[in-house]
């Protein structure tokens, strides 16, 4: 057969071009496959891999691959055993720290679990050119540590730091200001600071926020938890906001979130939707604050205490902050009246692409209509806890914005139930990519059924009892992420779960469903401590997980139900057994603890590659007391996991 001269092969492409092509590939598995083709591709792939997450047991650190020298973004926080002090178990930790540096010389962005300061003392000097660091700690900060010692260890060695993320790092609010003030040059060059504390329920006090922002005048991004309740010391007042704006005029991203908002509890509002206390923020000051931040692009003000009649300030947003694209407001009222379908208040911010409204007591269907007319570029819309809106308003909104909306979240709105909500999604059914709804069935007509196909990820949050999931939908061709909140009921009462189940098996209708986050941590009950005759959490586990083997899941993140009395989130026998039946699972992450012999059940899954217990909730159990999953158990389990797998690791 004649070979034409125009027959060019992929390998004929010049290296420079190939390098660029390779550097655009982000998916890890694809990259791993590419690196197996031939030696040249292997070298090219390694030289273009910029981001790496190390998994594996820390005692195998000497096996660290040294071919990833181009990596600039390194994540060390997921090394096994999860949450243990990183190098403490070695007789010569400095040597290993230096080995890490040798293997990854180009790192400028680091994520690391800092159980105690020794980790930073060892690692910070290895990468003095570090630009971005994310610290993680779900365990409690040792009370004997001097204030700020961990930040000082970091700042002393990494003088080029421009971005610091401690949102998942448990420390005291008093730790940061003195350290920031001790390194003024570093503070002045800091451009991103994330102190939105998910890892505890404290908020920064007003004077701490001002001390920090005064030292960091060049901040472009600031995310912080604070206290808006005027009954507490250090609450955020008008003066605080003004001073903040004047300290950091270059802010393009600002999140100020009340500490109570992150506690993951559904809002407890009075019948009208107002909190008992108002925030001490006046709308005229808000106007001045917005005027002082002209570069603002993303703004989150999750106040958790009433800010009334906010519309004048919001109307001003449009002119004072012309770049504003994303806005989230919590407990703001009077944001848009929508009278005569004329856009007013927030609906005048026509540049908005993402809008999230939380607990706005007087938001009505008219408001929604005005917003949809006034913000034609809206692609992401969220509404939580707004009692006055109805399906009609949502439907109007989705209709008007049918060409732009791709991400919708609707939660805790009294007048909405699942069936009517799904009908409101009709205009955007074939565009929508991410959807969250609460599965509330009251007033729903159960006879409505449709058929479905969708792909991607499902996040299920379980709270109260529901009947079988018998809904599906007509083709949602672009839907990638579906998130459902399902109410279950008081699991600490005498009621046992009925013989049915949550209905996970119905999700089998979605064959491309490959990743799931199953969050049962909202379920509170008894672990070992159940009084006689009361069911314990293991019975509920069976109820939640029954049917999971019917799904083609590749990856599952599971948050077990919790026994709050003893701070236990643990896997019991039914969960271990049911999870072990998911034959296609490759990755399983359990956000809790588990006994070794329960983990051994999971070895029955032939495709299982990556399992980890991550107690990433506050406070993470101190390993001494919680004997499940000790370091030796972890090592035995991971050895067993590696030995049964005969595929080439990817």
């Amino acid at each position: 057969m004649a070979v034409t001269s125009s027959d060019t092969h992929f390998l004929d492409i010049p290296d420079v071009v190939l390098t660029i092509i390779f550097s655009l590939v982000a998916d890890t598995r694809t990259r791993n496959a590419m690196s197996l083709v031939c030696l040249k591709w292997h070298l090219l792939e390694r030289s273009t891999r910029k981001s790496l997450t190390l998994r594996g047991n820390v005692r195998d650190l000497f096996l660290l691959p040294t071919c990833f020298r181009a990596v600039t973004d390194l994540d060390l926080s997921l090394l096994s055993p999860w949450g243990h002090p990183l190098l403490d178990s070695f007789p010569n930790p400095l040597l290993l720290a230096q080995f890490l540096r040798h293997a990854f010389p180009s790192v400028v962005s680091l994520t690391v679990y800092v159980r105690n300061p020794s980790t930073l003392h060892l690692l910070a000097p290895q990468w003095p050119d570090l630009r971005h660091i994310k610290l993680i700690r779900w365990h409690q900060r040792l009370p004997t540590l001097p204030l700020g010692i961990e930040f000082v260890a970091l700042f002393e060695h990494c003088r080029m730091l421009s971005s610091l993320d401690v949102s998942h790092f448990h420390c005291w609010t008093e730790d940061l200001p003195p350290a920031i003030q001790a390194y003024p040059m570093l503070a002045a060059s800091l451009s991103q600071l994330n102190i939105l504390k998910h890892s505890s329920v404290e908020g920064f006090k007003s004077h701490e926020l001002l001390a920090i922002t005064a030292s960091c005048p060049n901040l472009r991004e600031l995310l912080a938890t604070c206290i808006f309740d005027h009954r507490f010391v250090g609450f955020v007042s008008d003066e605080t906001l003004l001073a903040l704006a004047s300290n950091c005029p270059s802010l393009s991203l600002l999140h100020l979130v009340d500490a109570t908002s992150l506690s993951n509890v559904r809002p407890d509002l009075n019948d009208d939707g107002y909190t008992s206390e108002d925030a001490s923020i006046s709308r005229s000051i808000l106007c001045d604050v917005f005027a002082g931040l002209p570069l603002l692009e993303v703004l989150v003000l999750d106040v958790c205490h009433n800010v009334r009649d906010a519309w004048p300030a919001l109307e001003l947003l449009n002119s004072k902050c012309p770049r504003l694209k994303s806005l989230k407001l919590g407990q703001f009222h009077g944001i848009c009246s929508g009278v005569d379908s004329r856009p007013d208040g927030i609906a005048l911010c026509h540049g908005l692409e993402s809008l999230s409204i939380k607990n706005s007591a007087d938001l009505t269907d008219n408001s929604l209509e005005a917003i949809s007319l006034g913000c034609p570029k809206l692609s992401k819309f969220e509404v939580l806890g707004c009692k006055k809106i109805s399906a009609k308003g949502i439907r109007k909104l989705t209709h008007v914005l049918r060409n732009t909306l791709v991400d919708v979240k609707i939660s805790s709105c009294k007048n909405l139930n699942v069936v009517s909500l799904l009908q409101t999604m009709e205009p955007i059914r074939d565009r929508i990519e991410r959807l969250h709804i609460d599965c509330v069935w009251k007033n729903a007509d159960n006879s409505v059924k449709q058929t479905a196909s969708s792909n991607g990820e499902t996040r299920l949050k379980k709270k109260n009892k529901s009947r079988d999931n018998s809904f599906c939908s007509r083709t949602w061709s672009k839907l990638q992420h579906l998130s459902l909140w399902i109410a279950v009921g008081d699991c600490s009462g005498e009621r046992r779960p009925c013989t049915g189940s949550l209905g996970l098996r119905y999700l089998a209708r979605y064959p491309s469903l490959s990743r799931m986050l199953l969050d049962c941590s909202g379920v509170i009950g008894y672990g070992l401590t159940a009084p006689p005759g009361y069911p314990d959490l293991s019975l509920w586990e069976r109820f939640f997980l029954y049917g999971i083997e019917n799904l083609n899941l590749n990856e599952l993140n599971y948050w077990p139900a919790q026994d709050m009395d003893v701070n236990q989130r643990s896997l019991f026998l039914p969960a271990a057994a049911l999870l072990a039946q998911c034959g296609s699972l490759r990755k399983l992450f359990i956000h809790g603890t588990a006994n070794e012999h329960f983990m051994m059940f999971l070895l029955r899954i032939p495709t299982l590659r990556d399992v980890q217990l991550r107690e990433d909730y506050y406070p993470a159990p101190e390993n001494d007391m919680c004997t499940e999953m000790r370091a030796e158990s972890c090592r035995r389990f991971e050895d067993a996991l590696k030995s049964i797998n005969r595929h080439i690791p990817d």
């Binding site: 070992l528 009084p531 006689p532 005759g533 039914p574 057994a577 072990a580 012999h597 919680c626 004997t627």
Partner: protein, 266 residues
């Protein structure tokens, strides 16, 4: 045994004080069950915690089925631990099966124990003529045979439902903790516990004892505490806690702690 006992059974010594105190957990739990009691005693005692070889937190490979056929090897483990730690005198708090182990240990080495505190203890679980242990032979056999016939299912995690509705509450409660251990170990240890009968040796105990019982424990009838008081050889007191349940150290530590303190003082 070819392994380091102190490591294998997760032995820990915490606290500061001049007296040793051993906290021994019962079946279906491990030493973390003492977590709420521990901080109340660490200032005044050197506390020794360990896991029974059958606990879920111990490497199951250490469970030698040919060795642990009665309670005596468990007693060996306890005494070996104390010897390895160089302890020649201590107070002992044992829950459930560890109470039985403590009784046997004190008979073998009476000088070692200054006081025995027995929580949820029973010398024999099965009923006998004139003795009410709480469980009928027939009931227990039903549970064991259900486990054995459905062993495959049980090993795969579905036995809790197989222990059916016709089985009395006591047995169901007991079986709740069964599944915290590896199934084969669990079945084996349950048989060992139910086959044990310490009534004959109670009189040989010379160490002073304190029997702590909750007002309602489905695993231990109220009469058992009185039986222990009249039959234990040493000076014995009985304390009834005004709470229910089999795990007062977990569910009611605030009630248990003062009682423990009083018992340890004398």
């Amino acid at each position: 045994m070819g392994y380091n006992l102190l490591e294998a059974l997760n032995v820990r010594v915490v606290g500061s004080g001049d007296r040793y105190l051993v906290l021994a957990h019962g079946s279906g739990t491990d030493q973390s069950v003492w977590q709420r009691i521990l901080p109340l005693f660490t200032p005044s005692f050197r506390i020794i915690l360990y896991d029974l070889v059958c606990a879920g937190s111990v490497n199951p490979d250490y469970f030698d089925f040919s060795r642990y056929t009665t309670l005596d090897p468990y007693v060996d483990d306890l005494l070996n631990i104390l010897k390895a730690l160089g302890v020649d005198r201590c107070a002992y708090v044992g829950h459930s099966v560890s109470a039985m182990i403590g009784i046997l240990a004190s008979i073998r080495r009476p000088q070692l124990f200054s006081k025995l505190i027995l929580i949820g203890a029973s010398p024999r679980f099965l009923n006998d003529k004139d003795y009410h242990g709480g469980f009928e032979q027939g009931e227990i056999e039903k549970v064991f045979s259900a486990m054995e016939t459905n062993y495959e299912a049980w090993v795969n995690g579905f036995a809790p439902l197989a222990v059916g509705a016709d089985v009395p509450t006591a047995v169901r409660e007991f079986s709740r903790t069964l599944f915290n251990m590896r199934p084969d170990i669990s079945l084996f240890v349950s048989r060992t516990v139910f086959n044990s009968d310490l009534r004959g040796v109670l009189g040989l105990v010379s160490v002073p004892c304190c029997v702590i019982q909750t007002a309602r424990d489905v695993s231990v009838p109220a009469s058992v505490a009185e039986y222990l008081r009249t039959h234990l050889g040493g000076r014995t007191t009985v304390e009834i806690l005004r709470t229910e349940g089999h795990l007062p150290h977990l569910t009611a530590p605030a009630l248990l702690a003062p009682v423990l303190r009083r018992a340890l003082a004398r």
